[in-house]
Amino acid sequence: MTILALATSDTLTWLTNVAVIGGVALLVCFLFALPRYGVLGAGDKIFSTLQSAFGDLLYLSPRRTLAMAYLAVKESVRKQAIVGLILFLLVLALALWFLDPDQSDPSPLYITFVLSAVNYLILLMAVITSAFSLPTDMKNRTIYTIVTKPVRPSEVILGRILGFTAVCTVPLVVMGLSSYFFVVRSLDHTHVVSESDLRVISPQELTIARLPAGSKEGTTSVDRGHSHRIILNAAGEGVTEMGDSTRIADDEAENFTERFGQSHHHKVTAVDRNGKRTYVVGPAEGQFHARVPIRGELKFRGMDGAVNTEGVNVGNWTKRGYVTGGTLSAAIYTFHDVDEAVFPEGLRLQMDIRLFRTTKLGLNRPVLGSIVLKNPLTGLASAPRNFSAREYYTLDHFVPRKLTDAAGKELDLFRDLVHDGSVVLELQCIPRSQFFGVGPEDVYLLAREGRFDVNFAKAFLGIWLQMVLTIVLGVVWSTFLSGPVAMLATAVSIIGAVLKPTLVKIAEGDLYGTSVKSGGMLESAVRVVSQKSAAMELDAGTTTDVILWIDGVLAHAIRRLLDFIPDFSAMSDIGSIARGFDVPPQLLWEHVLQTGGFAIPLFLIGFLVFKLVEVAK
């Protein structure tokens, strides 16, 4: 389905939902008005209210709305906004204290921590700011002086939303900038290399490693809990190694750094002064990524050669499927949009493979695998290319443009293997008794490296949109609830939004992700009392049928209710940003649409409720 078709179908669904809710709301209003005004009177009342509501929306004045927003800003600034920032600075201080920059690849941890802290703090701030304002105005009766001016209810609500958005955006920007510098500065480091740390590489080794004459090899000083192996040319220039192949194979190596090397590198230059050479090690580079991947569709070929959508299940409940080693079994990725202009030299393939070992020995040893590239139309295939897979390590594998087939005949990647932008990649595990675990996102072509700072800013767009929705929810609840109750209602809505995927699973009885259903409320209560695990069948009978039926109705109601709660986890890109993946613009656009999809009906509800509420009650 094209993006346009998808957008159209989603918009239609959205419009249908809004229309259905609107229709139900009108019916409820009519039924309430019926005993008081009669059929015609109730209809007339609803019509005149809608007409006036439409006028309120149509003649909404930006100037008055901005005046209301200005009031909200003044109120928040003079009351409490600074508290949020102080809290955030405290959190950063705690982070400095407890996070360990010495571990291997600390950037995901740092990024996740600061972004999550910002996310939760700003949502907390949005809840507190938005939920109390209107009820306080009602309680203090300051609202009297507002609604007796030519201010429309729509302007009161929208002004509040805009004002609080502005109020919370300022600390969010400050938090964003400070958290970016916090992450970058905390993880920045350098090393020291002196002449005594280096040894001249023997001519034989030079020949084997195809290194230029005069090259030296050595190790940097240990800083931040690690050192780097370096090979410098005769001019004293080079780049520290990220993955050390000799150490990767070392079974005795205890920690990740020793086995797999570092996730970053440093540039090394030499300065010759008075006949003496000193080396300058640059800042850490490549710690932060914003990889732009091209992901493919994943299918699996079983041991019998049949193609399935699922791989072997090795017993853990993950989305990954496993490929059995030493058999026909393979993971088959079909990549689209493989453009020659993007990959002029060849494909840069990155793989994050999980291993499942059935042998006890060599836990740290890499497992051999192979890849084959195939033309999706002709089936023409390259010769297998071997690689060593290691757990918890992103393998960077370059597939050159010039390849050969199994018979040794030369192939051109784009001329022979890519058809209409599509190419198939088959991934196999070579040793028997070992398994490769892969999911749809684990193997991808790296189109380019985006800018980390821009990607970091994208995380804040997601957080900002969640903040806006929280404010809208807070303002809407506060149109008819008292301050503390409105805050509680907003907080519950937000918790629901954050936990939506889990709640959906609970409603669908799919909490375990397996064929064993997690059961509903009554069923669970019965299981607790009768001490029966979820895997055991309940006793057949009418009671069980009734329980299951009630649970079914409740689950269905909860599932439908959940449709009206936004999904904050889907709007948060913190995970992929921390893992070093670029957030594509389409995804950001989806977040914006989702926010609008919820914010617009919520605003309308808030406006109508405020219009119908007696301010002086």
């Binding site: 006036s52 309120d56 004045s61 100037r63 008055r64 901005l66 005046a67 209301m68 200005y70 009031l71 003044k74 109120e75 003079r78 009351k79 203090n140 009766r141 300051t142 609202i143 009297y144 002086t145 507002i146 609604v147 007796t148 001016k149 030519p150 201010v151 429309r152 007696e614 301010v615 002086a616 009650k617």
Partner: protein, 314 residues
């Protein structure tokens, strides 16, 4: 509030002189206006207003009188659209009371000045001016005028949380006048004001009438109402008990009062004799007492004219 002007104390004349023209337009009209307060379950709690029929004409000062709980404030809230009527209709400036566009020409001073305490006087007036979409230059000019009028120019930068009750009333009045309204609704306008402030407020109300504005005020301070209102409505337990011109309502038809200065004892005797000759009955011959308000204002004015003088000194 400018210079204090003393109104005539002649008993029989109205306070401001000049009645509203009978041909003038109707500014406020209620027809069978009723309000019933209900509890959460929709059960009737209290009938605050019972079928009120009222007309307020353009250019008059109209007073709503009544004891606490008589329905005065409920009437005002219904007229402003702060409450919705249970039955009946309310029209203000020719529009339904629930129509927000009517507010363009209304100024409202609530019972207590419900203002944002975190704003200062200038910001308060600027904010309310923005709600009327007044251009910046007009707002600036009007804010300066109003702050002078209510005499709080010196405290314009202070947040309202630091204001005394009287100052809060004054800034409340200023916000009610920011849009130069045609109809001013004042709920207990003199509450919280000292005698000078009370007098200034009353003078201002009369001045508004002179400028062609219509004023609707409610108060339980009868002297205030008597001093300024052309017409009054007396409410009791939500019902209209009396409606009419203040002067005619207060006039005691069968008693005649003569006020004169420089009468000798002989002259008094002659006057009494004439009354008796014509079968009149003299009820009382006395020197009139002034009101405490009058006395207070005289003392303050004198103190300002002659600073340092103490009680008992000439």
């Amino acid at each position: 509030m400018g210079i204090i002007t003393r109104t005539s104390t002649t008993l029989t004349s109205g306070p401001a002189g000049g009645a509203a023209s009978p041909d003038s337009g109707i500014v406020i009209e209620t027809r069978g206006l009723a309000k019933v307060y209900k509890d959460f379950w929709g059960r009737e709690k209290v009938r605050a207003l019972k079928g009120l029929d009222l007309q307020v004409r353009q250019g008059e000062i109209f007073g709503l009188l009544g004891p606490n709980g008589s329905g005065k404030t409920t009437t005002i809230k219904l007229l402003l659209g702060l409450l919705f009527p249970s039955s009946g209709q309310a029209y203000v400036l020719g529009k339904a009371a629930t129509d927000v566009t009517k507010n363009e020409r209304i100024g409202y001073l609530p019972e207590e000045s419900y203002l944002y305490k975190f704003l200062n006087a200038e910001e308060t007036l600027d904010f309310y001016g923005r709600l009327f979409k007044l251009p910046k230059a007009v707002r600036k000019e009007r804010i300066a005028q109003l702050l002078d009028l209510v005499r709080i120019s010196g405290a314009r930068k202070r947040q309202l949380r630091e204001y005394s009750k009287g100052m809060t009333r004054r800034i409340g009045l200023a916000q009610a006048l920011i849009n130069d309204p045609d109809l001013i609704i004042l709920d207990e306008p003199t509450t919280g004001l000292d005698p000078i402030g009370c007098r200034e407020m009353k003078d201002l109300i009369i001045d508004l009438k002179r400028r062609g504005k219509t004023v609707l005020m409610c108060s339980h301070l009868l002297a205030d109402v008597q001093d300024v209102c052309d017409r009054i409505a007396v409410l009791h337990q939500g019902e209209l008990k009396e409606l009419g011109r203040v002067d005619s309502l207060l006039k005691v038809r069968d008693v005649t009062e003569i006020r004169a200065t420089g009468m000798s004892e002989e002259c008094k005797r002659e006057v009494l004799a004439v009354i008796e000759r014509h079968q009149g009955k003299v009820q009382r011959v006395d020197h009139p007492t002034t009101t405490l308000e009058e006395l207070f204002l005289e003392i303050v004015q004198d103190a300002e004219a002659r600073p340092g003088r103490r009680a008992g000194e000439n």
